[in-house]
Symmetry: C2
Subunit: 241 residues, 2 copies
Amino acid sequence: MIRLFTPHDLFAGADLALDQGQSHYLASVMRQGVGDEVLLFNGRDGEWRARIGAVTKRGVAVKAQALARPQAMGPDLDLVIALVKRGRLETIVEKAAELGARRVRLVATERTNADRARIERLTAIATEAAEQTGRLDVPQVAEPVKLDRLLKDWEAPRRLLFCDEAGDARPIPEALEDQARGEAWAILIGPEGGFSPAERARLRALPFAVPASLGPRILRADTAAISALTLWQSALGDWTA
Amino acid sequence: MIRLFTPHDLFAGADLALDQGQSHYLASVMRQGVGDEVLLFNGRDGEWRARIGAVTKRGVAVKAQALARPQAMGPDLDLVIALVKRGRLETIVEKAAELGARRVRLVATERTNADRARIERLTAIATEAAEQTGRLDVPQVAEPVKLDRLLKDWEAPRRLLFCDEAGDARPIPEALEDQARGEAWAILIGPEGGFSPAERARLRALPFAVPASLGPRILRADTAAISALTLWQSALGDWTA
């Protein structure tokens, strides 16, 4: 069944007007009509079955019928990613949504040389991926900040898996072996040129940072992000019970 | 240093004429000239330092100087992937090269509805990714075959990690826990619509198949391929010593 994210409150009997894009998608692309059902979620109220009540030029109107799944959130995992070229950044946001990251935070580092990010477009990509992957929330995509600022403002107990290509760090599964489940985490992936020596030294000295390697080959930033998210979910996340 | 794949034999003193694309890349894009060094590999003779001897209209000529790394191969791992849309297939081939698959084999399944693959273009993508990732061979990309034919012709001792979304299979790390290192493996990823019930039944009955799940969310085919390659390398491959 088609799943759509909506910002509106969801409850039994709620009448919702879908936005233009969703209306077009439902009525024209997917050929849905009055009486057909869709699933809606908003990140707060769980997933609801809803029935199409009207298809007009102004858009599609639906009415929420019954709760299909109660709200549930994945593990508290952020992906912190250095700004990379647009295409790869879009891939990373899509995959972060599929792999259950709660937030994607963009950082500028010394060797970052990409354009600024288009947050609105990245949020649309995250939303579509969340709709397809079956999760009940959409990862938030935050405006870029400098690495320095990010680390100064760090919320203390959150741990940082620092993916360090240059060093002799242990592979991610080993580095996470002794960590407890249920903690808040972030995964940090550097730019294509890597972190500068000063940045690496600073990151390795942070008490909340866990350095780890991503294997014997050089990975592009998007591959590194996907591999690290996968291994984290598999070690500490919701891939196992 | 720039790394290039060449089909030619490599040995001390070998004189090589680079092809048109590589010559243009070296001379015009990367602004390399006479006396500059590059690294060459061919999948057989290891990685060689080579010096540019001439830059002419006909192309760039280089001479191999000294062995930089002896030939070494990654684990014997194939990725078997159902034909998916071109963009995602290209991503998968790039990532398979970065994540150390030896071969990418394309299959047509009951629910495959993608165009045929352009093997030449996929091979070029695999080559570029192999150059960047530092490996000493280029994964071979094979012409598509039907799933039925693939399984009939299976080379018996090779094991098959069957990524099964629909079932109650164990997560990949658990499924691989008891497996010995050093065996030949393949990872099988289905099309966006999944395998048909008949295909699933057949796959699960194969004595060499190990079914496994990819977590609680629905993954697109490219994400599934990257996650499975990552977890296999991490459990049985060359990510740990």
